[in-house]
């Protein structure tokens, strides 16, 4: 290499090229097959694109802040969310009670934190149920086709067309007003969209040559699903997951607001907002803080979901 370099100097400085530079070397020592770009796995590539999107990073930071507040907050504030102290009713936010107190003198900040845990829990549980049912039925319908596909999709259409509020009402009458009933009521109608989406994805991926190649190699159906179909739908499922958590949080808030949701002494953002709404004229902060948390959380999930769907879009891959 050194002799090459010195020869190069000759070329550049004097524009005289040494005769031995014209010695034949062919393609020796050079590989036309080399890949010089750094290796990038699928997920690190997704993360790279996600990271470059400022808004989605903002969403991620907001979410981390909300979660940290919810779990660490009560430890710092040193108040109990159920402790009633009628001496400090309806206080404005101050250094002792950061978000003020409610009409029974309970610390609103601690209540918002506890309520947030319940709201997030419900959001995540519903999403989990929705995705387990939705992906399984969707994958089954897409893969098997025929009669099974028909049955699943007709069922999905039927469930999808039931009025959601009526189901919630009936379930809360039958099962009583518990968190379990709430989760069941909300997720039982929600899997329809996921099923359709996963089925569509599977139908598309099933046509790819690599699935046929796996079949030609003698793969069993199970292996094809686990190795080829699921990994390739995972991206879109992830976007749907992040996008549906805020929907459930909002749904819970709505149900609690109209009195069908979480019952006292437990609380949630929706229940807190509902309570705050009664005091809106005199103590607007009691409505403001639970709502603020709902808004921030929903915004965070939506920003992350948007960023993810951009990052996962193969067309934007460059």
């Amino acid at each position: 290499m050194n002799s090459f370099e010195s020869n190069l100097n000759v070329v550049q400085n004097e524009k005289i090229i040494d005769k031995n530079m014209f010695e034949r070397v062919g393609t020796k020592g050079l590989s036309g097959e080399e890949i010089s770009k750094p290796s990038l796995t699928y997920w690190s590539d997704v993360w790279r694109r996600f990271r470059s999107n400022g808004l989605s990073i903002l969403g991620l930071i907001l979410l981390v802040l909300v979660v940290a507040t919810i779990f660490v907050g009560p430890l710092i504030s040193e108040h109990d969310y159920q402790y009633i102290n009628t001496d400090v009713k309806d206080l404005k936010p101050n250094s002792e009670y950061w978000f003020g107190t409610d009409d029974m003198g309970r610390d609103l900040f601690t209540r918002v934190c506890y309520g947030g845990r319940i709201s997030l829990l419900i959001g995540l549980c519903c999403t989990l149920v929705k995705f387990i049912i939705g992906s399984l039925l969707g994958a089954l319908a897409g893969l098997k086709g025929g009669v099974i596909d028909n049955i699943i999709m007709r069922l999905a259409e039927f469930i999808g067309n039931l009025p959601y509020l009526i189901i919630v009402l009936i379930l809360s009458v039958v099962l009583g007003r518990s968190i379990f009933a709430l989760v069941l009521a909300m997720s039982i109608t929600s899997w329809v969209g996921t099923t359709r989406m996963v089925r569509g994805q599977i139908l598309q991926i099933r046509e790819q040559d690599y699935v046929e190649a796996a079949a030609a190699l003698g793969s069993s159906t199970g292996r094809i699903i686990m190795k080829h179909l699921l990994p390739n739908t995972l991206g879109i499922i992830m976007v749907e997951i992040t996008m549906s958590v805020p929907g459930f949080i909002f749904g819970e808030a709505f149900l609690s607001y109209i009195g069908l949701g979480v019952q006292a002494p437990k609380t949630s953002w929706g229940a807190l907002a509902s309570a705050g709404q009664e005091q809106l004229m005199f103590y607007p902060h009691q409505l403001f803080f639970p709502c603020l948390m709902i808004v921030i959380t929903m915004l965070a999930f939506h920003l992350i979901g948007d960023g993810l769907s951009d990052a996962l879009d193969p067309k934007l891959r460059k």
Binding site: E33, I35, S39, Y210, A216, L217
Partner: protein
């Protein structure tokens, strides 16, 4: 030529697809031929002529509607699940599109090793190491290097991906490979690479190929015998030299004359045999000769009666009323 041993016998093979409620698409309609051990059989025709379906039915990827594919004495379409699985070790396929044929979430090593994993080729304590070594060996065979094992398909060019597809098919040491238009998605400069590799592998391992393409010049180059397909059926079948020197079916003649020749002077004097319009729909094909609607030589008889597929001279089969 020395005595030829038949590896696969295709007998009256039919593959129909249901389209809608009543209509039937006859993708492959009554096709019969033999494939000899160690030869390359070319199948050529326009898109939609059923050549790919024919190839995939022969290797058992599709179930046949009717007819038999006899591989070493056994009809592969009467196999049970276990036998089918065993058969995949003998017959493999290389796909046309190097982009959709490799799973984007798997590393090149896992893609090539998939067949080894499925069939548990290596048993015992050393199986991981043996698998790894086999993958390195295969990468080397197709002209890639060890460092490529942990990379993902999107990092490779079309030609490199096609070679990865070849390595995947070779991993379980098949005897018979269906090459489904393996070069038509590649740049001309890369096509030669892949074709040379296929020919070299055939010499070294005694592989038998069914080579499917729409490009007659490459088919002619790589094949020992060629079948020309039109709308689900064979119209001409003979050795590749004979097909080039003495094409008898008007469709074959037109196909040959349509090939662009990389020679300006020859192109200037060449007269193309015009072939009007495009291949008709294989749903409800016309009665009589299927090519009649585009054939400049067609007579009344062509539109009424389907010509017989008969041997005109030794090993030269044609289906045309005009060829005597």
């Amino acid at each position: 030529m020395e005595s030829k041993e038949v590896l696969i016998e295709v007998k009256n093979l039919k593959k129909y697809f249901k389209v809608g409620r009543k209509q039937v698409l006859k993708a492959v309609d009554n096709v019969s031929f033999n494939i000899y051990k160690g030869e390359t059989l070319g199948l050529v025709g326009e898109s939609g002529c059923g050549k790919t379906t024919c190839g995939k039915t022969i290797m058992g990827l599709y179930d046949a509607t009717d007819g038999e594919v006899i591989y070493e004495g056994e009809n592969i379409h009467s196999f049970n699940t276990q036998e089918k699985r065993e058969f995949t070790k003998k017959a493999q396929i290389i796909f046309q599109d190097p982009y959709s044929s490799l799973n984007p979430r798997m590393t090149v090593g896992d893609i090539i090793g998939e067949g080894i994993d499925i069939h548990h080729i290596y048993k015992g304590a050393n199986r991981k190491k043996e698998r790894q070594e086999k993958i390195f060996e295969l990468l080397d065979t197709v002209g890639l290097n060890k460092e490529h094992t942990s990379r993902f398909p999107h990092e490779f060019s079309g030609g490199q991906r096609q070679r990865i597809g070849i390595a995947r098919a070779l991993a379980i040491n098949p005897n018979f490979i269906v090459c489904d238009e393996p070069i038509s998605a590649l740049d001309v400069s890369i096509q030669a690479q892949v074709v040379n590799l296929l020919i070299e592998l055939q010499r070294e391992r005694g592989l038998t190929y069914l080579f499917i393409a729409h490009d007659l010049s490459m088919i002619k180059h790589i094949s020992d015998r060629v079948g020309v397909m039109y709308l689900g059926g064979l119209v001409e079948f003979t050795t590749s030299d004979e097909l080039y020197r003495n094409p008898l079916h008007p469709y074959t003649q037109a196909l040959l004359s349509a090939i662009p020749v990389p020679d300006p002077e020859e192109e200037r004097v060449k007269k193309r045999i015009p072939i009007d319009g495009e291949i008709p729909s294989p749903i409800n094909p016309p009665p009589g000769c299927k090519f009649a609607s585009r054939c400049s030589l067609a007579i009344d008889k062509c539109k009424e009666k389907m010509p017989e597929f008969k041997e005109i001279s030794h090993e030269h089969f044609v289906a045309c009323h005009l060829v005597k």
